[in-house]
């Protein structure tokens, strides 16, 4: 079975998540606007992936057999850019150009322009099929490559997502692991009020996937899911998340899917991120889940 995180490792991951969240809100402040809610909800899953599970060498992002990560929810580009910067794949000065006209770094990330990004996304429902192709490509060439794909729950409305889900299980792609950022919010409101997606786990299971459900902000739980999914795919992790997580005034508010931050709001956001970080550290110290 998987080993649970050591306390030190858990603290380290929380520290990375803290810095990624700070980068996200600072970048939105500097750029004027961005998909801040989505970037914050996916943050801990991506930190876990890039810090512990994705087998890539930041200095050699063109190594053919490296693991692949596909950000199918392309509007999470800001959050990915922050993680890549934290991992040293993207330079800080590059992240600083986020959203500027002509900058390679923008709302939707793009393999034609940004080193370390595997494919251009932004239009929803493309990523899982591309990830299926990557996993097939790895198998045909007998590479050990694992392929990870992060979807928004909103992408579970796209028919093409389910086309890809069917073909993945039909092909028995054991090295494929999808994660659904289940924050229950889309542009127009709450998924279960607009067009309900539940029972979502049953849907994936019926398409032949191994399903893991976890608190998408609990590093120990996320880590355990990634470990269990290894070689057991196609596997999907339904990461129960809070949109805008870490910034109290943004949490679970549809209007923060995409937004702007002035300097007062930036200070408030940074304070909130720091407070939640301290609370998470305290919870570890007292033996709690976080």
């Amino acid at each position: 079975m998987e080993r649970s995180l050591t306390t030190d490792e858990h603290r380290r991951l929380l520290g990375v998540s803290l810095r990624v969240r700070e980068r996200v809100v600072r970048t939105v402040f500097r750029a004027g606007s961005g998909h801040v809610g989505a970037a914050l909800s996916q943050c801990d899953v991506l930190v876990s992936l890039y810090e512990r599970h994705l087998r890539v060498d930041p200095a050699r992002m063109d190594e053919p057999t490296r693991d692949r990560f596909v950000l199918s929810k392309g509007h999470g580009g800001l959050g990915l850019a922050a993680v890549l910067a934290e991992r040293g794949i993207l330079a800080d000065h590059e992240l600083d150009t986020f959203g500027e006209s002509g900058s390679p770094i923008g709302m939707h990330m793009d393999h034609r322009k940004v080193r370390g990004v595997e494919t251009a996304t932004g239009s929803l429902g493309h990523g899982l099929g591309i990830a299926v192709g990557m996993a097939l490509g790895a198998r045909i060439q007998r590479w050990p490559t694992r392929v990870f794909c992060l979807l928004s729950d909103g992408e579970c409305y796209e028919g093409s997502t389910w086309e890809a889900a069917l073909s993945a299980s039909a092909s028995g792609l054991t090295g494929l692991c999808a994660i659904v950022d289940r924050n229950r919010l889309t542009m127009d409101g709450f998924t279960e009020k607009e067009v309900p997606l539940e029972p979502l786990a049953d849907k994936w299971r019926s398409f032949g996937w191994r399903v893991e459900v976890c608190d998408g902000h609990d590093h120990a739980a996320i880590d355990a899911c990634f470990s269990r999914a290894k070689d057991q795919g196609p596997a999907v992790i339904l990461a129960e998340t809070v949109k805008g997580k870490g910034v109290s005034f943004m949490e679970q508010r549809p209007e923060w899917h995409y937004g702007s931050i002035d300097s007062a709001k930036l200070d408030e956001a940074l304070r909130s991120i720091a407070e939640q970080h301290r609370a998470a550290l305290a919870a570890i110290a007292s033996g709690g889940a976080r």
Binding site: V132, G137, I140
Partner: protein
């Protein structure tokens, strides 16, 4: 032209061709074999289909390389996305399904994942135009080029017989980047004289020489145009035929040259005249400031009925007879002269 619909009625033969016949067709066999050869030489080549391997000539490849032949089920968006993913891993996917589904159903995937993604995928759309005429308008593909011509960097090839298709496929595989190959029915007799002819992406080919009028065609209308041109020669009209097996990047020089030399242009295609070669030629001569008499044969902003391809080409007015009549018609009118050009002043 005006009599073509009456005349075509007499040509309608009803159901004379079925999907089953398609498996026996000679011209498609030629490129099916070429694909197997290419697969033998290059282990990066894989095929992907959406449940149509048997009728699209991927079946031989599947028998030869079962581990490199993928069927995603009847799911064209996923077909294109999976191909993009395979290409991202260094493979060269040859993707094949009916043109109407490959392009119209999956259009945004082709644009975003293959075009913008600059993936090294070879997308073959078969039964383009009215090649699957009896399938009716749901299975006719008269809009694929109108969509894809607007996709930057995408190479678009439309060969006119099996040998040219085989050569085009080899050229497409040698080209690094996304390519759309438009293929019709494959019933025509392969032109054995072209067995070893190399295929160069880009230039148009002069199939028949002439100085009064130029007919520009691609795909199945090339052979129709050649026959019509020979008839016109016998009637005293010197008719040039240019085949355009590459639609993107477009050979604008050949169009401008033909416009200047013959002053009368007729485009012929089994595709809508909106967004097809008709548009491409009109745009080119207009931008060059050339005065020409321009006629456009093809799908004319209406849905064609169900029927065998030969009949639909007659009904639609882009078969040999229609081309012949159009050649005579445009030549009854005086051609513009060089003095009419903006460019020449």
């Amino acid at each position: 032209m005006s009599e073509s619909s009456d005349k075509s009625q007499s040509k309608v033969r009803g159901f004379t061709w079925t999907v089953g016949d398609h498996a026996l067709l000679s011209s498609s066999d030629v490129w099916g074999e070429a694909l197997v050869e290419a697969g033998r030489a290059d282990p990066r080549i894989v095929t992907v289909t959406a449940d149509l391997a048997e009728t699209t000539r991927l079946q031989e490849f599947k028998r030869a390389f079962p581990e490199r032949a993928i069927n995603v089920g009847i799911a064209e968006q996923n077909l294109v996305a999976v191909a993009a993913g395979l290409a991202a891993m260094g493979l060269v996917p040859v993707v094949c399904t009916y043109a109407t589904f490959a392009v119209l159903r999956a259009a945004e995937f082709v644009r975003t994942d293959l075009g913008y993604g600059r993936r090294n995928v070879k997308l073959i759309g078969t039964l383009a135009g009215v090649a699957y005429g009896q399938g009716g308008p749901t299975h006719h593909a008269a809009e694929d080029l109108a969509l894809l011509r607007a996709v930057p960097e995408l190479v678009i090839l439309a060969p006119s017989d099996g040998f040219e298709m085989a050569a085009a496929l080899r050229a497409a595989i040698a080209h690094e980047g996304p390519v759309y190959l438009r293929w019709g029915r494959g019933t025509e007799t392969p032109d054995a004289s072209k067995r070893d002819a190399p295929f160069v992406i880009g230039p148009m080919q002069e199939r028949v020489g002439g100085s009064d009028v130029t007919v520009l065609a691609y795909g199945p209308t090339v052979q129709e145009a050649e026959r019509a041109a020979r008839r016109a020669q016998r009637a005293g009209v010197s008719t040039r035929v240019l085949a355009a097996p590459t639609l993107a990047p477009l050979d604008r020089d050949s169009i401008v040259c033909a416009a200047k030399e013959t002053r009368r242009l007729i485009t012929v295609e089994d595709h809508s005249i909106v967004g097809g070669l008709a548009s491409a030629v009109a745009e080119t001569v207009a931008r060059a400031g050339l005065a020409v008499r321009l006629a456009s044969l093809g799908h004319r902003e209406r849905y064609l009925p169900m029927g065998v391809p030969e009949d639909l080409m007659a009904i639609g007015g882009f078969d040999e007879d229609a081309i012949y009549e159009e050649i005579l018609r445009v030549c009854r009118v005086a051609a513009p002269t060089a003095d009419d050009d903006w460019e020449d002043r």
